[in-house]
Symmetry: D2
Subunit: 293 residues, 4 copies
């Protein structure tokens, strides 16, 4: 539990979601009443319309001015914001009025209480590592971005496998023919990597999980690597239009021979949450993990 | 071991493969010397060029006239031929000079001996069931075709999962959010379905394997069903451009709401092979199955 | 739905279970009122005590006289009865007042209605194949028995792996170093074999699933074989006290060199159930299979 | 690469292995010629017999006097030595003349060169974390020991599952009905945990892998936890004689209600190896990991 005075709070709502917009409006009022400067993200401001006359600010620009970002929506919305703000050290808090997320909490009615607790410093800071992803092609870097959950190299629309060679710290690890390969952060280990058969990696462990997608041979198994590893995935064969996708949200077309570099991003993201938040309880609830009582 | 007099033999070579073309030429000569009528597939005839002046015949048309088809190439080539000929009862034999396939045999040098054995009736007939696949959309059937290995419903280029509801004999089985679902024949169980975590299904077992691809929940497991089952996979949600792919070779664009019906095809395919051919030995060799000696 | 006049009904209750005993007493009265001859299994008769003065009959002997066996208890009780009666063609019906089983149905209050329906021929007959298991040791057969779910060769209390060589129809399949190997019937595919990573096999498919338990190499995968297969598992190395266990109920100590033969038993078991009984609904409920609604 | 003057070297050979004994004799001579004091472990000294007249020293006592232990044998022998010496900070080097181990190296003929390199400081130091394991029963600690690979709670000879409740840092994680649960170190992740379906965990990652063995429900998945975690596995139900096994070598009989505590041991073990030693190359070779070239 840390005390922290939040002066300027950015508000971001899930696009095209009237319930999120209504919650943003409520939050804006609540925060203003408590003397906090509120800054709305551009699309969020537009969605609020006449009720909030000030212009919105571009999400990336908010990173420079806000000392907290409240994100109203599901995990996907939060992940997108985290990725965009990854160069800044703005803590995030997810507010999910609909359902329990891995990263976002449900406050059905007591939004006021939560905000009061937050401003009183009554919260926990969960540090989550992010990925720094770079595509190298013929000496150029045509793509460089952050990812919160995962960087996925995938065969794309082609029904034919790609062949990948993976290196860690410049050492050859293995070659694989597969539908693709997931490089996941601990947070991402319960997202797509879990679907592909990967292990759950606790978010406090500084690690990457490398999880093959539908590998061609039986002799494959996910591997968990230290977060200090410099990972390089070389697209050695790609019969079709392969792609790199970050967090399932940002696609990038790959070409045969491309080298995808993944490292830990320079900054972690701070997720603020209720002091009672319990990672294992979320796993049990979201994954129906373990036995029935 | 069955004796059978082959009068008319169709020859099909892997397209754009000079080694396959050379083997086809050798086979044509061998067979002609033994009094067998040889019919070349169109592209195969074109590849042979001036050395074989007769015109080729369309593959589908060969089904009506040939009483054996010799396919020179790998498993992929054989599978394509089997699919095209599935309405006919033409037995197939795969000849793979390069490497061991699941379905095709390697005859590095003794092609003559193999052909002699074949014509003498010294072969085994391996029956393989095929799939009959139909897409139903708004009361129409926009696609209907056979598949040898599998019918795969897949999210396609989209990074977002599809949601599928599966029925067997008109009974609801389960709903799944996943990258896709594979309906595999026993032969197909060692192809893509194996990559997705499915079991090996012996080719003499009349069965389908239903294998989810990267399912969203932990509570998923492949199921093996009797080949008498009428399977229906309904694409209940498809955020992107989902597709149906047959044998990894024939794509078809699906729309939300499409119903993909899979049943056993009316005819099995007869694969002719050496009497010594051993399914388990091929598994061990191809999959590096089990322990090292 | 088949009509069948049941003249003599065997009643078997789960041992040491007062609720089962009470249900047996109720069933005995119900059946007697309807003119059916009731025969109690020995321990079941003893549990009923003074209320049912007639002596019980040994379970194996009941097989010769009863034309139906009603088994009150969970799946485990039913499986034990099925195994003991496997030489006879007595249909079974499981009555499980506590909770849903894979094989037994829940009749919380309307036992009368169920019995009336049963005697009126308003039931479905589900045929389930059983396993015939034989241990061969130095030319002798020290153990021969049926199994309903599975025959499991396991390392037993030793922490060291066993090495097994598997043959099908006298052909070598593979060698494995593992904790053990499960040979499961379709019914058994949702029991221990599922825990070990095996596929679900539909009970109408005449098949065996061979599922390794904690195999030493990555190159292992369950295989599903036709029920006509003669399976032989040779215990090539057993550093500790390995054992064969049938249905998790009947242990038998194995010695290095023992050959465990598994074939389909000569008779199937007929399970009688409600005409509305739905295999897939049971899977969804018992395995929490698929998505949440 | 670190320079270090080894004054006193302990020699331990695989028991009852004449080849190991012969190599120990060679090593003793080599080291003595180079002025190093050699101390033989008791059984190793006995095996050498009249050729080495000095009495051996108990392995645990060697930990106090040796500044290096050379272990001649396979991974199992090295693991046993590491466990016994875990209270001491004696680095270990494995010498495996037979075959490649995960932890031991093969020196078919150039033992001299390797020893020269070692004494010249030409080696790499691989730190491996160990487990500290304690059984708590009715307020007592009937068992406390180290483990190098894993602590396994297992149903033992019983064919019936145990039920386990797992806690991390006193928080409830999940309840499982299973054959057992493996708590593995990164080194142990490629041992039994891999057989049970666990991920590979890089040895430089300070982590535990919790891998269930044949879990009863589908909703189970291995989890990787920070090495700072205090893990507690409570044996909530054990129908038979359950046991705890350390490294597959040290069994301990558990009783229902026992609490097995696992933490990182206070000291890591230093494995000395060739500077060219490559973890990924060993994985590829030992696990036949990835594609064939």
């Amino acid at each position: 539990m840390t005390t922290h005075a939040f002066q300027t709070v950015a508000l971001i709502g899930k696009p095209d979601d009237p319930a999120a917009t209504a919650t943003v409006a409520r939050l804006a009022t609540l925060l203003a009443h408590r003397g906090v400067t509120v800054r709305l993200e551009t699309r969020t401001a537009a969605a609020l319309g006449p009720t909030r006359p000030e212009a919105g600010t571009d999400l990336a620009a908010l990173g420079a001015v806000a000392d907290l970002a409240l994100v109203v929506g599901g995990d996907g919305t939060l992940i997108g914001v985290a990725r965009t703000l990854c160069a800044h050290k703005v803590p995030l808090m997810g507010i999910n009025l609909g359902s329990l997320g891995f990263l976002t909490e449900t406050h059905p009615a007591h939004l006021e209480g939560s905000i009061a607790a937050l401003l009183a410093g009554n919260y926990r800071r969960e540090q989550r590592m992010m990925l720094q992803v770079r595509v190298e092609r013929a000496g150029q870097i045509p793509q460089e971005a952050c990812a919160f959950n995962d960087a996925v190299v995938h065969r794309g629309p082609s029904a034919r496998m790609v062949t990948l060679a993976t290196y860690v710290d410049a050492r050859f690890v293995l070659a694989q023919a597969a539908d693709g390969l997931i490089v996941a952060s601990p947070t991402g280990s319960t997202a797509y990597a879990l679907s592909a058969g990967g292990p759950i990696v606790h978010p406090r462990l500084p690690a990457f999980a490398l999880v093959p997608i539908c590998p061609h041979t039986l002799t494959n198994r996910p591997i968990v690597l230290p977060a200090t590893s410099r990972i390089e995935v070389v697209l050695t064969q790609a019969p079709g239009a392969a792609q790199l996708t970050l967090d399932g949200q940002v696609p990038f077309a790959l070409a045969e021979g491309d080298r995808v570099h993944v490292e830990r991003a320079p900054h972690d993201v701070d997720l603020l949450c209720d002091p009672q938040w319990d990672y294992f309880a979320v796993l049990r609830e979201k994954l129906r993990w373990g036995e029935r009582p």
